[in-house]
Amino acid sequence: MRWLLYLYPRAWRRRYGEEFAALLERERPSLRLSLDVLLGALDAHWCLHTDGRPNRNGEHRMAIWARTAPLLLALAITSVVGWGISRPDLAPGSPAASVTVGQNRGVGQAGDPSAPPSRPPVLLEADLSAVPATERDARLEQVVQVAERRLRAAGVSDATIEVLDGGRLWIALPPDQDVASFMGLLTTTARLDFREQATQPDGTTAWVVARVRDAAGVERPLTGAYVHDARAVTDPNSRRPVVEFEMSAEGQDLLATLTERLLDQQLAIFVDDQLQVALTVRSPIVQGRGMISGNFTPQDARDLAIQLVSGPLPVPVQLVDPPRS
């Protein structure tokens, strides 16, 4: 019965082939088993492999029809023959009814969406509870894009990211990558903003996001959106890992305007509402450069630099199930 294995797509066989063959060898050959495996293979071609949509390699429905046509024909013949020689209640329903199209889809860069992970995939969940139902798909798409940018910036070009039901992302990293080292990178929101101290109605002072009028007179919050480059370096004085960043041209102007206004006052950089750096402005900052020195490990600094360049996650994302090796 081992030949039945070859009804499945190659990517599926790479992942499940060996164990599936071992199982087939223990099963008694029968028409019923052949039919079951034939349906399983069609499911793998149509639902698991491509999820019924053009996959990332640009393969379209027509190509899958072409690839699975012999299988469909075989199914039709087996069904007709099977109807004659076996009890009717063992034959499955019409093949068309059995081929359900899944809702999952492959997105991402290189690689085959169904290529087997050589280790368990990382499963993340985006918290979409605050997002209106009609915008969830778009928001999840943004999460995928941010995750892709972050992974690419970290030097991982062949990760596979897929969107599952319920706001979940399935991420398969290449086998040579240490999965644990990507958890912080992928789940930290990394929303940076510049803040100044403001007196609250109750008389206390608090850090509030600095708002600056741009050249056109529009007031804009000064956030990480204006950071266009960042990298992890070792501070020559403290010998500790720090993150250097550069603002875009627009951000440079905004920061210069802000620091003119804040002379001899406090300016701070927050990431995810955590104070990173606070300083007293002694002169306007015109070059649009800065340094964030926290109590960073080298990996923290690397992650933050990547996150600043790749942009914040639009919604909170957390790990669903810790990866095991």
Binding site: W12, Y16, E18, E19, F20, A21, A22, L23, L24, R26, E27, R32, L33, L35, D36, V37, L38, L39, G40, A41, D43, A44, C47, L48, S98, T100, N104, P120, P121, L123, E162, L164, D165, G166, R168, W170, V320, D321, R324
Partner: protein, 105 residues
């Protein structure tokens, strides 16, 4: 929490049988098949079993372990256990309601 199992369409039942089979420990394909046969009197074909396994794996409800010779055991994940418990609880309340209605006849 949405019922993860109910989202699996025609694979809901095979998936439920698999999760229950894995609830007392990791098993490979053939062990699941015989366990399910004994447990529920249902014979899952190899094609159906693996179509359901692949879906459960991709939703993070089960986890493949290292292959032993050529057979690969699968293990229930914490997410899978939660999903299974939720589904079984809803089956229980359904069964209780049904039995109560019958008793009232």
């Amino acid at each position: 929490v949405a019922d993860e199992l109910a989202n699996l369409g025609r694979f809901t039942e095979p998936a439920l049988l698999i999760l229950v089979s894995l609830a007392d420990g990791p098993k490979h394909g053939y062990a699941m098949m015989t366990d399910i046969q004994r447990l529920a009197g249902v014979h899952l074909g190899a094609g159906t079993l693996y179509a359901a396994l692949a879906r459960l794996e991709r939703r993070g409800l089960i986890l493949p372990l290292a292959a032993e010779e050529r057979r690969r055991p699968y293990q229930l994940t914490p997410v899978g256990a939660t999903a299974l418990r939720a589904h079984l609880e809803s089956m229980r309340s359904f069964a209780v309601t049904g039995l109560q209605r019958l008793a009232a006849r």
